[in-house]
Symmetry: C2
Subunit: 433 residues, 2 copies
Amino acid sequence: MFNSKSQLDETRLTSRQVCKVAIVGFGTVGSAVAKLLCARTGEHSLDVTHICNRDVERKKANWVPDHVCWTDDINEVLKTDVTVIVELMGGLNPAYDIVRRALQSGKSVVTANKQLIAYHGSKLIELARAKQQHLAFGACVAGGVPVVSGLHEGLAGDRLLKVHGILNGTCNYILTRIESGALFADALKEAQQAGFAEADPTDDIDGFDARAKLVVLARVGLNAEVTPESVLCRSIREIAHIDFEYAHELGCTIRQVSRAELRDGQFLASVEPALVPLDSPLASVSGGQNSIISTGEFGGETVFAGHGAGGNPTAVAVVSDLLHIVRYRCAGVAEPDRPAATVYDVSNDFETPHYLRFVVMDSPGIIAALAGVLSGHNINIGAVFQRPGHDKAALPFVITLESCKASQAEAALAEMRAFPFLVHQPLRMPILR
Amino acid sequence: MFNSKSQLDETRLTSRQVCKVAIVGFGTVGSAVAKLLCARTGEHSLDVTHICNRDVERKKANWVPDHVCWTDDINEVLKTDVTVIVELMGGLNPAYDIVRRALQSGKSVVTANKQLIAYHGSKLIELARAKQQHLAFGACVAGGVPVVSGLHEGLAGDRLLKVHGILNGTCNYILTRIESGALFADALKEAQQAGFAEADPTDDIDGFDARAKLVVLARVGLNAEVTPESVLCRSIREIAHIDFEYAHELGCTIRQVSRAELRDGQFLASVEPALVPLDSPLASVSGGQNSIISTGEFGGETVFAGHGAGGNPTAVAVVSDLLHIVRYRCAGVAEPDRPAATVYDVSNDFETPHYLRFVVMDSPGIIAALAGVLSGHNINIGAVFQRPGHDKAALPFVITLESCKASQAEAALAEMRAFPFLVHQPLRMPILR
């Protein structure tokens, strides 16, 4: 059925041929990629021939081999015969245009740009296929954790139903600090000083960074195409130390959890702070680590965890993608087709138990009033927790709800918002058992 | 540099061509593989054409498609035009002979046979290469956990220095039960009743099963070829509940840990019970789960965890390997060469802190005597622990050693063995921080 030996010999290239690589974007990751490639003495020769960056003069480093061409003109790179463009600029513009032109001009592309793949993945994958080029993006999700190849290759034999995990190390760091007693604002400042968080932390804190990664994982693991905007993002800004105290009483801790799930033909996804059991793999993820759990119909749960960011781990993912391309290209072929992704509307109406934290001006009848609303929405109360030692004028307490849809809980909360005894708006988090 | 489009078109096969699969060995995994393949409606058609098993009549199942040929004669299968033989018989004989003949007759092979790859991997890989066939063995290690592809593909860009983890679910189950208070013998019986452990549990308990997996991981992750017999195996038979009590005092628990490490050109490996910190990823591995941690020079630690055994998880690994082969074969090529593995002599002389548990007939001067021996071997004592409430005639207590080589600790223990106050021989375990 398959090709004969003679055909093989005819198309196979020797492994000593050189794969020319242009690095576009020479920041922390780009420079780590160059260093890793310079350090390699493997069977496949990956040769950096071009480094492209704005204002390139200030980037020049003496450890880079002399033959490398430094340029700030991407057009110069696109005109050459480089085999692969490594796009490490980040952001949608001009990265989208550059990657499109690279593919169109018959070059393969490796990118670590999660927003690019989340927003334009389908079009770019199609273009790469049409041009018989590779588009590899393993570095988009969770830095050095090989989850993209793990879902694409290692678990290809399973039918994956769900992918969830911790995809943003900054949030994880901040939440860990709040757990230890820090205020949100101080924890954020610490994260910024430690180099974890950006000056404008919105992308991390409010979930947009994790959302882009989740959209990429949904494509790879669930073969689902969804628009990033359709995935609900809820911020971790409202989480306080008191929430960890209550979470611990429930045998849980709090993490920013990204979830995508196929259930009865529906696609559910969200990025939000959630309670996870203390003995779950997500609870043990510390500091800036990432952890992803895939759930397959046949293989059950598989955990991938490691360094979610940083120059070297991300560079490992980039170089692994380069080697993957070289292996296929040395074999003389483009990557085989995969089935087209299914386009889904996204629901964020997960059905789980919920944690509701209220801060009230204490007075008689509060529980009765809240319980009345919940009962009116057909929601069962799991338990009520009230830790001693708090000011009666701003008393925090928690009601847990038995499993119900997020929309049901939100409808009840909307009705509660009118109650005059609320000092803050209530905080809702799913409890993921 | 690479092939032009026209060459690509010429060699590429359409994805609708069928890959014929013969399953050899139709037990739990074989039947799960057949079910998974029957359930697939993917882009690549994997068609089971033959099922081969001793006494095949009793194996026939009505859910298997009518066109499948059932046979107990492997020669019949080898004479056909099947593309891939899936070897699921286990054991070295006759599996080795069958896999060899399959490759020689121009068939690719997928196997879940860890002993086969541990003992004969090099020869078979070389034969597969010479015959331009694939030999895939992702199912050999940790069942459904995609660690073989993860190390081969996802972390290809890193330089791996170390692989360690929990590779035997039976030991993990038994140790977890001893931790909860069970005696070793009872925990083993439970594991056997739960279907975890074999009637003869030696392979699991004494480390030979994990050793074969470690040898396979060393090949894949560290590109190292070592003989299984050269890797030290130490049994978990001596572990008692009291050891968990002392381990907890040290902030640790006890796991059967398999380790392989390249250090200064030396290859170190062992399979043995060890103390691991309670907050480490290995401590949180429960029941029959497996967990593998790779350490890379650039990407740091990466964790892979999931179901280490069972029909369905292992079948997922087998089918993922089949899909990998189909992708390459549909592309018209054999797998590209990888560099030949380096042959190493194995040292098991890891340098770590150690846990020594003694059971003595109490009398004055015991600690002094033991400390004297340790001092004579230039070993520093970390701490001495003695929990109250034990019989003076068989008093268990623990001495921890500061970091020293295993050989140093063993030399000291050999000298101690003559002491008349010892009720049992001392138990030594490394402490892995």
